[in-house]
C-alpha cells in the first residue's frame, strides 16, 4: 500500500527538522496566569516520528499548536529547519483532535482543502481519490460529514492533512475515534505513508502501545498543575528500541509500556498503598 501519486516528489519536499527551545505558554485565567507549557526543549530530527503522551489537559494539543503556528508561545522559540515559525506555516499540516470538516462540503471536497495551493486540478483530484481509497472512504467520497460516523470523519481529517504533503505532520489523537481494528490498520497505513513520503511526525496519543509501535521517541508530558514550580513540561523522553515495522508483541516494548503507564500514574500491577509513591518516579 504505497502512495503512487505524491503531489510532489520527495526531493521537492523534504521532511523538516523541528526545534523547540525553552518554549513556554501560560493562559490567563481570572485567578492569574495558568502555566500549561514550561521549559519545553525538544529537537525533532527530520523524518522522525515522535509521540506525545500525557494526562488529559497537560498541554499536548497546546504544544502542537505552537509548532503549527496557530498559537504563539509566550517565551522560547520554535524553529522549522532553522527558521522561526511566524504565523501559520505552510510546511506543516494539522489533523485536529476533532475532525473539523466543513459540514457543507463532501468528504472529497474537504480532503481537497488540504491540497497545497497551486496543485493542478487533475493531480489534485487523483491525489484526493487516492487518499480516500487509502483511508477506506472511497464509497463515502460524496457524503457530507454529518452523514458519516465519527471514525470516518476522523479518517477524512487525516486524509486532509496528508493531502498537504507536509514536511511536518502534526496529528492530534488521529485514531482516537476509531474502533480497535481500524486503529491498528490505520497505524500501519500511517507507517506506509511515512515510508513513501517521509515527514517529521509529531503525534499526540492516549494509547501508550500506539506510541511505542509508531514512534522513534516518546515524550511524556506532565501536568503543571500539581508539579513543582520549576519542573519542565517534558517529564521524560524515551527512545523506542528497534526499527519499524515493530513487532507488537516485542518484550522490550512491553517493559517500556509498563514504564510509561506508571509515568502516567496508571499502575500495571496491583500496588500496595505504601508503594504508590515509587511509581511516580518522575
Amino acid at each position: 500500500m504505497a502512495l503512487t501519486t505524491p503531489a510532489r516528489t520527495r526531493a521537492d519536499r523534504p521532511a523538516h527538522g523541528v526545534v523547540l527551545h525553552d518554549v513556554r505558554r501560560t493562559f490567563p485565567t481570572p485567578t492569574g496566569g495558568r502555566p500549561v507549557l514550561r521549559g519545553v526543549d525538544v529537537e525533532l530530527r527530520a523524518g522522525e516520528i515522535v509521540a506525545l503522551v500525557g494526562p488529559s489537559g497537560c498541554g499536548k494539543s497546546t504544544l502542537l499548536r505552537q509548532v503549527s503556528g496557530l498559537d504563539i508561545p509566550d517565551g522560547g522559540r520554535v524553529l522549522l529547519d532553522g527558521t522561526p515559525v511566524a504565523g501559520i506555516d505552510r510546511r506543516t499540516a494539522v489533523a485536529f483532535q476533532e475532525p473539523r470538516l466543513l459540514p457543507w462540503r463532501t468528504l472529497a471536497q474537504n480532503v481537497a482543502l488540504g491540497l497545497p495551493a497551486g496543485t493542478p486540478k487533475d493531480a489534485g483530484r487523483a491525489r484526493v481519490a487516492e487518499l480516500l481509497r487509502l483511508m477506506g472512504l472511497e464509497e463515502s467520497a460524496g457524503l457530507r460529514p454529518r452523514q458519516v460516523s465519527g471514525g470516518m470523519a476522523q479518517r477524512a481529517s487525516l486524509a486532509r492533512a496528508l493531502a498537504r504533503n507536509p514536511g511536518v505532520l502534526l496529528l492530534d489523537e488521529p485514531f482516537g475515534a476509531l474502533d480497535a481494528l481500524t486503529r491498528l490498520r490505520m497505524q500501519d497505513l500511517l507507517l506506509d505513508v511515512h515510508a513513501a513520503e517521509p515527514a517529521t511526525v509529531l503525534l499526540v496519543t492516549h494509547d501508550v502501545e500506539e506510541a511505542l509501535y509508531l514512534a522513534d521517541r516518546v515524550l511524556l508530558l506532565r501536568s503543571l498543575v500539581a508539579a513543582p514550580d520549576d519542573a519542565p513540561s517534558v517529564a521524560r523522553v524515551i527512545d523506542v528500541p528497534g526499527r519499524r515495522p515493530r513487532d507488537r508483541a516485542d518484550q522490550r516494548l512491553a517493559e517500556l509500556r509498563a514504564e510509561l503507564l506508571e509515568g502516567l500514574g496508571v499502575a500495571t500491577h496491583h500496588v500496595r498503598p505504601g508503594d504508590a509513591d515509587d511509581h511516580h518516579s518522575i
Binding site: 505552510r90 476533532e98 473539523r100 466543513l102 464509497e139 460516523s149 465519527g150 498537504r164 475515534a177
Partner: protein
C-alpha cells in the same frame, strides 16, 4: 405601522428549520457505528426512505391545508355581507370587491398601481439588502467595525419608519428616490442584523481549520464563513423582503400618486371601502407570493450547501 418584523434581533443563529447553525458536534457523528453510513447509498440523506411526519407533511396536504382557512374566511365574509348582518358601507361583499378590481383593471389603473409598488419593493429590497450584506459582514468580521459602527446603526434602527418620511421628502422630494430609500432602510436592518450576528458565531474551530490550511481574507470568507452563515443570510433576506412591503405602504401612504399605498389612502378619502379591501387583499397576496418565491430559492440553496 410596526417597524420591525419579529426575529430581526441578534437572537440565536438558527437555520430555516430552527436547528442551531453549524454546531459541529463530534458526538452526533460518534454515536453511529462505522457501519451505519455504508447502508445509505452515496448522495442519499440518511433516513431519506423513512416517511417523515406522516399526513401533515405531504406536499398536497400542505398546499390544500394552507388554503382552508382563507377560503373559510372568504365564505364567512360572503355570508355575513350578503345576509345583511353587516352594512355594505362598512364591509362590502367579496363580489363587489372583485367588481372594483375589474373596474380598475378596465381603466388600466390597477396594473399601474401593482407594477409601481412591486418595482419600488424590488429596487428598495435589492439596495437595502446589498448594503445590509456589506455592512453586516464588516461588523460581523471586524472588531473595529463592530465598535465604531454597531452603536450608530443600532440607533438608526430604533427610529420608526414613519419618522423618516418628513426628512426624506425634504431631502429627496416626493419622487421615487424618497420611497425607494425608505424601503431600502426597511430591508437593510434584517439583513444587517442577521449577517453580523451569524458571522460572529461561526464555529471558531472551523475558521481555524481553514486558516491552518492556508486560507486567508476573501478566500477564507468564501470557503468557510459565508457558507457557514448562508442559512441565516437567507432567512435575513426573507425578513427583509417582508419588511420592504411594510415600508412600502408607509412610503406610499404619504406622498404618492400611484401604488397600492396610494390606492389605500385615496380610497379612504373617497369612502371606497371596496377598494380599500382590494388593496389589502392584493398586499397580502403579493407579500405572500414573493415570500414563497424566495422560500423556494432558499430551499434549493440549502439543499445544495447546508
Amino acid at each position: 405601522m410596526t417597524h420591525h418584523a419579529a426575529g430581526t434581533g441578534p437572537g440565536p443563529v438558527t437555520d430555516h428549520a430552527g436547528r442551531p447553525l453549524r454546531a459541529l458536534n463530534p458526538f452526533d457523528a460518534a454515536r453511529d457505528a462505522d457501519a451505519v453510513p455504508a447502508a445509505a447509498a452515496p448522495g442519499e440523506a440518511p433516513g431519506a426512505r423513512r416517511p417523515r411526519g406522516g399526513f401533515w407533511s405531504r406536499p398536497v396536504v400542505r398546499v390544500v391545508g394552507g388554503a382552508v382557512l382563507p377560503l373559510l374566511l372568504l365564505g364567512v365574509w360572503h355570508a355575513v355581507t350578503t345576509g345583511g348582518l353587516v352594512p355594505p358601507y362598512q364591509l362590502p361583499t367579496p363580489l363587489s370587491v372583485w367588481d372594483a378590481a375589474l373596474d380598475l383593471v378596465a381603466r388600466g389603473q390597477l396594473q399601474t398601481h401593482v407594477a409601481i409598488s412591486v418595482q419600488r419593493v424590488l429596487v428598495g429590497f435589492v439596495v437595502g439588502a446589498a448594503a445590509g450584506l456589506v455592512l453586516g459582514s464588516l461588523v460581523g468580521l471586524s472588531r473595529a467595525a463592530d465598535v465604531l459602527l454597531a452603536p450608530l446603526l443600532g440607533g438608526v434602527r430604533a427610529v420608526p419608519s414613519l419618522a423618516w418620511v418628513p426628512l426624506l421628502i425634504l431631502w429627496l422630494k416626493i419622487g421615487e428616490e424618497s420611497k425607494v430609500t425608505l424601503i431600502a432602510i426597511g430591508a437593510f436592518f434584517p439583513v444587517y442584523t442577521t449577517v453580523a450576528a451569524a458571522l460572529r458565531h461561526v464555529d471558531p474551530h472551523l475558521v481555524e481549520a481553514g486558516r491552518a490550511f492556508g486560507l486567508r481574507g476573501v478566500r477564507l470568507l468564501q470557503t468557510v464563513q459565508l457558507p457557514a452563515v448562508l442559512p441565516s443570510v437567507l432567512s435575513g433576506l426573507r425578513l427583509a423582503l417582508a419588511q420592504a412591503w411594510l415600508f412600502l405602504v408607509a412610503a406610499e401612504l404619504i406622498a404618492s400618486s400611484m401604488g397600492l399605498g396610494f390606492l389605500l389612502n385615496d380610497s379612504q378619502q373617497n369612502g371606497r371601502v371596496d377598494r380599500i379591501l382590494l388593496a389589502i387583499v392584493l398586499l397580502a397576496l403579493l407579500g405572500k407570493l414573493s415570500d414563497s418565491l424566495v422560500a423556494l430559492g432558499e430551499r434549493a440553496l440549502l439543499r445544495r450547501y447546508a
